[in-house]
Amino acid sequence: MKRTREFEALISRWLRYSGLLGVLYLSVPVAVAQSSVAVKVENTRGAAVNDVKVMARRLEKNQEAADSGGGQVRNLAKADDRKYTIDGLSKGKYRFYACDEDLTYEPDYKDISLGENESRKFTLVLQEQPASQPVSDVKAGEKVCLIHDETGCRTLKAVAPDGAVKYAGVQNHYHVEDADACKTN
């Protein structure tokens, strides 16, 4: 009887330890494959920009870097007025991008291939060069969805009395869609 109890205790202890070992064993590759990235965001003159969102989109293996659609998106946490961080990224290629809420700056992006347990830091620069482009077939005051091609950043913009939409940056980096397009993101 005593031997049986000892045997049961031994078995349960073995199971517990092997379970622990299993958990440890499984957690090792997960722990190894975690990378962290710190992104600094500023304008061309090095000043901080308010109301900025910084995101990381995972690019699939055969996805072209320029594709703005698809891929899992994660937000970076704000560390201070110009620094954003993210941890726990697995190995792969990511597009990091930053945009302000109203697209008063042109968004910026950087494609990075992360290995295992890497720590990377870089700067994204938001362009403030103002631009204005007339929108055909839309009346003044109506809203359109302005979309930045490379990042997919979008915002609702009212067409100005002169029939133009205002933004920042280079004109062929954007396109406009119906206002509904801004509801999807």
């Binding site: 003159r45 090095g46 700067t123 869609e177």
Partner: protein
């Protein structure tokens, strides 16, 4: 400053208060200055942050990324590339500043390179791409529909380039004029050429019925200042020991030359596979003794095996030679997409005056690489055949093999002629070449070719382009 402020602690209260006030004012002022950093200062600061990030840890796998950063980053990067053949590999520095206005994308470029053999090139280039505001249309994509990425190359943008460039080359081959020049007439000379000029490309997009042709007009005006000198440090004789002004026009004096050029280009692509890159133009050279005109037709046909949009090599588009993309755009990434093409090219160039009116240093050449580092009849020595008239037929195949590396094979046939009437398909010289190419994002294109065929043996040719891939071209030297 913080140290100094702490040092004040323990002194008399009034004095300490004043000094603390001064410290606070200085701190606030420096904060304001930081916030109002100039764009150039900010560009330099960001580059000084990027380089240690790319090159800080020495590991084997970080070498390509570090090299890419050092050779393509802005505002300052290493400038590297082959100088015209026989003159070595140039290394130096480049400064690039790119700024946009609502109507212009501007790119200023300043660079200088030198070789261990004392050859050098200095240049400054200003590129202006006119981007007039055009109405934007609201698009209504269907769910799941992929938006076609806009491509600067097909946009109707006018481009103006202003430049001033000086180049000094100590070793250029001269074998005499004509298709039958002999190796026994081998000689060398040195040349310094300064070019100050402007060129413009105007795409013609006003007529929708011909927009498929991608027609563009080209115009150029250059001042060319050439100085020819002998070279007595080689085993081969210096040019003046073998030739005279009669056998090498322009040898005794090189007057300043005003050169104009006008031309057009069409570049249609059929079914996203077959590209017809046709260029035609006329050049007029005006100088005191040597005025002549030259017309050139260059017909290039390329079949893109995996599609033009997906895999065509990056072309020249609106920027200086040290920028891999126009102002405001990113350099193309190092692609691992498979790409490949098969091509055929016919180049015909004729001078419309007698050979004695065409200075030998402005005459085109075949053999090895020419003065603009273009490969033709690779198995022959560089600049082997020189004359005012030229016909070249080329066939080539290139395919990616691993990442940015590709394999290339070329077959050339061509001839030069002192008289226009002698140009034809008779007395053709032949050559083959095969080797490796490297097209890595914005990094200058590299090719390593082994050339054979023809009666004069074989030739190994290494070339690293003198512009970043995707950057603008430098003015031609002939």
């Amino acid at each position: 400053m913080r140290k100094k402020c702490l040092w004040f602690v323990g002194q008399r209260p009034k004095r300490v208060f004043l000094r603390w006030s001064l410290c606070i004012v200085l701190l606030v002022a420096s904060g304001v200055l930081w916030a109002q950093e100039s764009w150039l200062h900010a560009d330099f600061r960001r580059e000084s942050e990027r380089i240690p990030e790319a090159c800080g840890k020495f590991q084997f796998k970080t070498i390509p990324g570090c090299a890419y950063e050092l050779f393509t980053d802005h505002p300052m990067h290493f400038a590297a590339g082959s100088l015209p053949p026989q003159n070595g590999f140039g290394l130096g520095l480049a400064f690039v500043a790119a700024r946009n206005t609502p109507n212009w994308r501007t790119d200023f470029d300043l660079d200088g390179v030198g070789t261990t053999g004392g050859n050098w090139r200095l240049g400054s280039y200003l590129s202006l791409v006119h981007t007039p505001v055009r109405p934007i249309k609201v698009t209504h994509p269907k769910p799941g529909e992929k938006r076609k990425k806009p491509h600067l190359g097909v946009h109707p943008f006018t481009e103006i380039n202003l430049y001033a460039q000086a180049i000094s080359l100590n070793k250029l081959n001269f074998f005499g004029l004509g298709n039958d020049s002999s190796l026994t007439g081998s000689s060398v000379f040195g040349m310094t050429q300064t070019i100050v000029g402007v060129n413009a490309i105007k795409p013609v997009y006003e007529f929708p019925s011909i927009s498929w042709m991608k027609l563009s007009l080209f115009g150029e005006a250059n001042g060319r200042f050439v100085n020819i000198r002998g070279n007595h440090s080689q085993s081969v004789r210096s040019i003046e020991a073998l030739y005279t002004n009669a056998t090498a026009p322009g040898l005794t004096s090189q007057p300043a030359t005003f050169q104009l050029a006008q031309g057009f280009r069409i570049d249609p692509v059929a079914k996203d596979r077959l590209e017809f890159d046709y260029r035609a133009g006329i050049q007029e050279f005006v100088a005191s003794h040597y005025s002549f005109s030259r017309w050139t037709v260059d017909l290039n046909h390329t079949f893109h095996i995996w599609g033009y949009e997906k895999s065509a090599p990056v072309g020249v588009s609106g920027g200086g030679p040290d920028s891999c993309a126009p102002a405001g755009d990113k350099c193309s990434s190092i692609t691992v997409n498979r790409s490949g093409f098969v091509g055929a090219r016919i180049l015909l160039s004729e001078s419309m005056n007698s050979a004695s009116k065409v200075p030998f240093y402005f005459q085109p050449t075949l053999g090895g690489q020419d003065i603009n580092s273009q490969l033709s009849l690779g198995s022959y020595q560089d600049y082997r055949f020189r004359a005012p008239n030229l016909l070249l037929v080329q066939g080539y195949v290139e395919h990616s093999i691993w990442g940015p590396f590709g394999l290339k094979f070329m077959a050339d046939g061509g001839r030069v002629a002192v008289n226009r009437g002698d140009i034809g398909f008779n007395h053709f010289r032949h050559s083959f070449a095969a080797g490796l190419t490297l097209r890595a994002g914005g990094f200058p294109m590299v090719s390593m070719m082994f050339a054979w065929g023809g009666p004069e043996g074989h030739h190994n040719i290494f070339n690293m382009n003198n512009s970043l891939l995707g950057g603008g071209a430098r003015p031609l030297l002939d």
